[in-house]
Every structure is written in C-alpha cells, then in structure tokens.
C-alpha cells in the first residue's frame, strides 16, 4: 500500500498545461483563463488565490468540463491520471478531449473528481430535499461505496448521508436531510454541499471557497475534517479561498493568479515569507489584521481590474504595479520562471527581458 502511494506520488494526479478558456460575448472576447499551468500532486493540498474575476472558478469548471456557455476551452490540456487499479501508476487522460456529456467524463465527474461549487444556493435544486439529491448522487456512483457491486438501496444511501451530515457538523442530521436548500442557513447549505462532494469518496476534491459562508469555529472543524480525509484516503485537494489565513493553514503549495494567468507559485512557506511577485506582496499587505488598528484605510492595490476585452500589453499587472521597471514591463510579457526552492514567478524583477520574444 505504502509502496503504491510512493510510486504514484512522483507523478502529478492532475496536470493543467497552458489552459485557455474564452467567452465569446457580443461585445467581445473575454479571455477568462489565459495560459494557466499547474500540477496537483496526490495527497497534497494546492491552494489557489487571486483577485476576484481572475479565472479561478472557470479553471476549476474547465477541469470538470462544466464551463458555462458560451465558454470554450480553446487551448491547452488537463491531464488526469486515473487509477489503473494495478498499483503500477496510471494512465493519463486529457480531460479536454473527452466528450462533455460522455460516459467517461460522467464517471470521473463527481466520483473521482468532485467539486464544491462557489455558490451552493445555485447548486441545489429547490424542488427536491438536499438529502434526496445526495442520495441520488451516491446511488449513481454506488461503486465508490460497494466496490463488489450490487448497488445501494435508498435507505442505505440515506444512512450514508446522515453520517456525512454529522461529519461536516450539521446538527440534527436525521431531520436536516429532509430539508430543502432554501430552509437552510448559508453555512448549513455550504456544509450540505461539502457532504455532497464527499459522498462519492473522490480522489481529487476541488473546493471553490468552501468555507466563506461558515463561521470560524465551524470552519476549523471543516478544515480538520478535510485534513483527516486527506490523511486517511490520500485525497488531493484544490482549495480556492480568499482567506489567506486558511491558505496558510491548509495548503502545501500555492498558486497565485492574476487576470487569467499564474503569476507566482510554490510551497506555502515561500509564498508567505519570500513572495517574489509584486501582486503576491500586495495581497499579503491587504489582509486586515486581527490585532492591528481599526477603522483606518487598509493598503489596497491602486487602479481597477483592466477591461476584460482590452487587456494591457506587456505584463498584465504592470498598470497597477508599484515596482514596475521603466519600459520593460509595459512592452514585454514575462513568463513563469523557476527561482529555486520550487518557487516560480512571472515578473521581470526576477527575469531578464531579453529572455522573452
């Protein structure tokens, strides 16, 4: 068992390479994801942070082939290594090549890769109870619970849901399974959503802001639950959150995105203590402190997000960057460059402009 884990651990579970997702709108083309690359290693937590609107959710939806119309994956690949079941590593499939509604994608979506979407209100149907919706998902992917086959009765599935609800800290789980999503508070709804995502024992859990609507004490419980899940089953997690405190406590590695691109990535300690990109540094400065001065202006990043149809040339961050270099940053596009210790940044402070075209 350990030998197998070791062997797989050398290979990423998921590799996103040069991913592009465009939305062709009447007014113009929105390049929501503009060349994103990163790896998710088995059993590790990858934290993703970035300005709101920078393409985090669209990237995650692309992984699951759930990008909304008129969004299109126009370039790049998303290689997922399925467990071949023989303990000898695994074959990679490019998810972008799978038909969206085909059997292969449906077997992966929900069962092997599960998503906790950003807006749990929109994720549950208002006409069925939350319990019924999760029971349905469990029965659909019954093999995750009954590998020997034979299916699951509604009652068995319901028992699983009650246990899951208890695990994620929902009180009175027996009653709550029969509630409609609109009867639950924001935090309860989000926990029900987490239970739904865990219901099929995924190998990769994509959690898009899973704790934003939850208070800090419950959040601490949910994070402990996710850590335990990861330890016990070796689940890999992609964790998107704006809460840098949660990133610091949860992530092994961090990806920082800006305007559809990765501007910095690396192990969590380097990101917090030796950030290389000016955007990462600005983000860290904007955190209101639990012990600092109150009711004073917080440091912000000057300027607003650029127009989505009219992106700045050169480094996408240069119009707002307080460390930009003369004419270089406005006219050349930096590339993600390895800077040692597993950390990489896309910035001319750390890269020669002559290296780019």
């Amino acid at each position: 068992m350990t030998a197998m884990v070791k062997q797989i651990a050398t290979e990423p579970l998921l590799s996103v390479r040069d991913l592009h997702v465009d939305f062709g709108l009447d007014e113009g083309l929105v390049r929501a994801v503009d060349g994103v690359s990163f790896d998710v290693m088995p059993g590790r937590v990858l934290g993703i942070v970035g300005e709101s609107g920078c393409g985090k959710s669209v990237t995650m939806r692309a992984i699951l082939q759930l990008v909304d119309e008129p969004g299109r994956i126009t370039r790049g690949e998303i290689v997922y290594r399925r467990d071949a079941g023989d303990g000898l590593g695994s074959a990679g499939v490019d998810l972008t090549k799978l038909p969206r509604h085909g059997a292969a994608m449906r077997a992966i979506r929900g069962a092997e890769i599960a998503l906790i979407p950003q807006e749990p209100m929109a994720a549950f149907s208002p006409v069925h109870t939350v319990g019924a919706q999760i029971v349905e998902a469990i029965r659909l992917h019954h093999r995750q619970w009954r590998p020997e086959g034979g299916g699951l009765s509604v009652n068995d599935a319901r028992d699983i849901v009650v246990d899951l609800f208890r695990d994620v800290g929902i009180s009175m789980p027996e009653q709550r399974v029969d509630a409609y999503s609109w009867q639950l508070s924001g935090g309860l709804r989000q926990r029900a959503m987490i239970a739904m995502a865990l219901s099929c024992k995924p190998r990769l859990l994509v959690a898009d802001e899973p704790t934003t609507a939850i208070d800090v004490t419950t959040q601490a419980q949910v994070l402990a639950l996710l850590r335990e899940l990861q330890r016990k089953h070796g689940t890999a997690i992609i964790f998107i959150t704006h809460d840098l405190g949660v990133i610091a406590q949860m992530a092994n590695d961090v990806v920082v995105m800006y305007l559809g691109r990765v501007v910095e990535q690396g192990p969590v300690d380097g990101i917090f203590h030796a950030a290389k990109h000016p955007y990462t540094r600005a983000l860290l400065r904007s955190i209101p402190s639990i012990s600092g001065a109150t009711r004073v202006a917080l440091p912000t990043i000057s300027g607003t997000l650029p127009h989505p149809f009219n992106r700045p040339g050169g480094c996408p961050y240069h119009p707002r960057c307080d460390e930009k270099i003369g004419t270089v940053c406005a006219s050349h596009v930096p590339h993600l460059t390895q800077l040692g210790n597993g950390q990489a940044a896309s910035c001319f402070l750390h890269q020669d402009a002559s290296e780019t075209a």
Partner: protein, 359 residues
C-alpha cells in the same frame, strides 16, 4: 416560554444593550423573535415543532455607527437582518426606526403600504449575490431598479447614477449592459453594494458583503464603506464571519449563539477582554495568515445545538469548557457587568478568558 409569548421586556432581569452615550439610536430592536414551524412530512404538513431562529434579540444601532453581528452559522444573523427589513415577518418584538424628521416608527407593525416610503432609507446587501440579482436583467436594470421604484423615471438620469455607482464600487460603467452571469462572485458582490447604495439609504444592513471578495478588493470595499460612512453619515448593521473584517469596520460588536445575543461590547474591548467563553473560542479559531504558526486545536468540538431543540440551561453549556451544574439548569440572562459590556454567562466575571483570546 411558549411560541406565542409576547416579547419579554423583563427589564429587571435582562439588560438591554443600548449605547452608553447620549447619541440617539437610529434603530432599536427589542425582544425580536422569529420562529419557523417544523412540519411533519405528511400531506397536511402538521406543525410538530418550532425553529427558534431568533429568540428575544435586543440591540441599538446609533446613527453613524457600525454594529457588527457575528456568530456561528445558523445562529440567526440573516433572519435578524431580514426581519429588520421586513423581508420576513417577525414572530414578535419591536423594530423601532428613527425617521429623518425624528419620528419613530415600529417597522414590525407597519403595513406593506406604510413601509413603502421607508424603502429608500433602509437597504440591504445580501449574503448570496447570485440569488439577489435578477439574472434576466442587465446591471443597469438591477442597480437602477431601486431608483425607478423610488421615482427616478428619467432613463438618462438613471444611467448617470448607475454609472456613478458602478464606479464607486470599482466596476466599469461600460459593464452596465451586461448580465449578472458574466461576472465573477466578487464582482457580483460589488454590484449588490452598488444597488444597495443607489437610493442614498441611511441604514444599510449588510449580510456578509465582503466574504466573496479577495483581500485586495475586500480592502477596497472596506475602505469604501468607511469612506461612505464618513461622507454620507451612513449607519451599518454589518453581518460577517471574518472577525478581522468585523473588527476592522465595527464600532461595537454583538455576538450571537443559537438565536440569542451572548455578548455585546465596544470592538476593542470585545477583542481584547471578551467575557463570554464562546466569544473567546471564536477568536482563537481565527486562522493566522502565516504557515509557520502551528495549526491550533479545534477550539470548539461537538455540534452546534439546533435552534429547534436547544439544550436546557445555557445554550452553550454542552460545548463550554467552564460549564458547571448551574449552567446545565438555569439559562443565564443578558447582564451588564461592566458599563456598556453585555454578556449572557453566569460566571463571566470569574473566568480567565483574556489569555485565550487573540491579542
């Protein structure tokens, strides 16, 4: 107390969290209750119990101040906010609002018709930006709707105002003709803020207005809210989970647990010298933005009690490290052991919590 009981005023046993200063409250909530019926699964939906979502909540919000409202999820923060706006009918209690001409109206008893002229003065920023914007309407219509409702019939005038509002919240005026689905979660939240500010309200009830935002945009919005408050004299009731955000923005903070206020104090005092064990546990649970700080123990174990079936005695006792026999028997009243500092705990003065709370 039965479900139909009148709001308990009981001034002799229960302190009412008012401001110590002479400043006039803009909003006074007294004995607010909201119960939801629990029905059986049957055809006739027979009522078999009550969810006591908000159970005897009282507080004041002084003109120009920000009162933060924090607490466990499901403790009744959104329900309290929605009752104040009468987006929901309170079961009992008074919601007194001071109008511009200094007359006081009880929002809880007004008819729909009587409420209409007050709509412009009280606005809400919703927790779920997706659910609160109409997906079939452009930003212009979404943000401009309150203006139209309040009598701004001229389209060009509305356009100017919407453009101004979008700029105010850091969005481009050109976005006006797009639909909500074309925006990210955080962008939608700013649209909700623009909409709430459109009618120049005096009281803004903000339910998690920045929780969908990244820290740099969050900082912009917080700065914006502070600036608007100073410039326009806005009053905020600010519901949020993020304690550092609440601490940053609020003059005073109320902490709720299972439908009740368990502590209320001036922000600095609450954060440095909390008196309630739940407040102290909340503060210790704030994740520190530094990976070198070891992950703390989960400070509160066990389940959140259900508001349909709260425990006997102090609602917090099953999870409280300091619980004693009295806590299991007798429900503590909201007391004011230090002027301006309200707490619902039998032993508040005797517990040593400060060392456990965040500096």
């Amino acid at each position: 107390m039965t479900a139909t009981a009148a709001p308990t005023t009981a001034a002799n046993t229960t302190a009412t969290p008012t401001m110590a200063t002479s400043a006039k409250p803009l909003l006074s909530v007294r004995g607010l209750q909201k119960f939801f019926p629990i029905t059986d699964g049957g055809f006739f939906r027979k009522t078999i119990g009550q969810v006591r979502a908000v159970d005897d909540v009282s507080f004041d919000v002084v003109e120009g101040e920000t009162l933060g409202l924090v607490g466990e999820s499901g403790c009744g923060k959104t329900t309290t906010s929605r009752c104040i706006l009468r987006a929901m009918e309170p079961t009992a209690g008074r919601i007194e609002f001071r109008r511009k001409d200094d007359t006081i109206v009880d929002l809880a008893t007004l008819t729909r018709e009587q409420l209409r002229p007050l709509r412009a003065e009280i606005q809400m920023i919703f927790q779920d930006p997706f659910g609160s914007l109409n997906p079939r309407m452009t930003l212009f219509d979404n943000v401009g709707e309150p203006l139209l409702v309040n009598g701004m019939k001229n389209r060009a005038e509305r356009m100017d105002r919407v453009a101004e509002l979008l700029k105010l919240v850091g969005l481009r005026a050109e976005f006006m003709h797009r639909f909500p689905h074309a925006f990210s979660g955080g962008q939608r939240q700013r649209i909700g803020i623009a909409r709430a500010l459109s009618t120049n309200p005096r009281l803004v009830v903000a339910d998690e207005p920045v929780s969908a935002l990244d820290v740099s945009v969050q900082a912009q919005v917080l700065n914006l809210l502070l600036e608007l408050q100073q410039r326009l004299g806005l009053t905020f009731l600010f519901v949020a989970h993020d304690l550092s955000v609440v601490r940053h923005l609020s003059d005073r903070v109320a902490v709720m647990y299972v439908g009740q206020i368990v502590e209320l104090a001036v922000t600095h005092t609450l954060f440095t010298r909390p008196l309630h064990p739940y407040t102290a546990a909340l503060m210790r649970a704030v994740p520190v933005p530094d990976p070198r700080v070891a992950i703390g123990e989960v400070t509160l174990k066990g389940e959140v009690p259900s508001p349909a079936n709260p425990p006997k005695g102090c609602y917090f006792h099953p999870r409280c490290a300091f619980a004693q026999d009295r806590c299991r028997q007798e429900a503590p009243a909201l007391r004011e052991p230090v002027p301006g500092h309200f707490v619902r705990c039998h032993f508040a003065e005797q517990l040593d919590l400060a060392t456990q709370a965040a500096g």
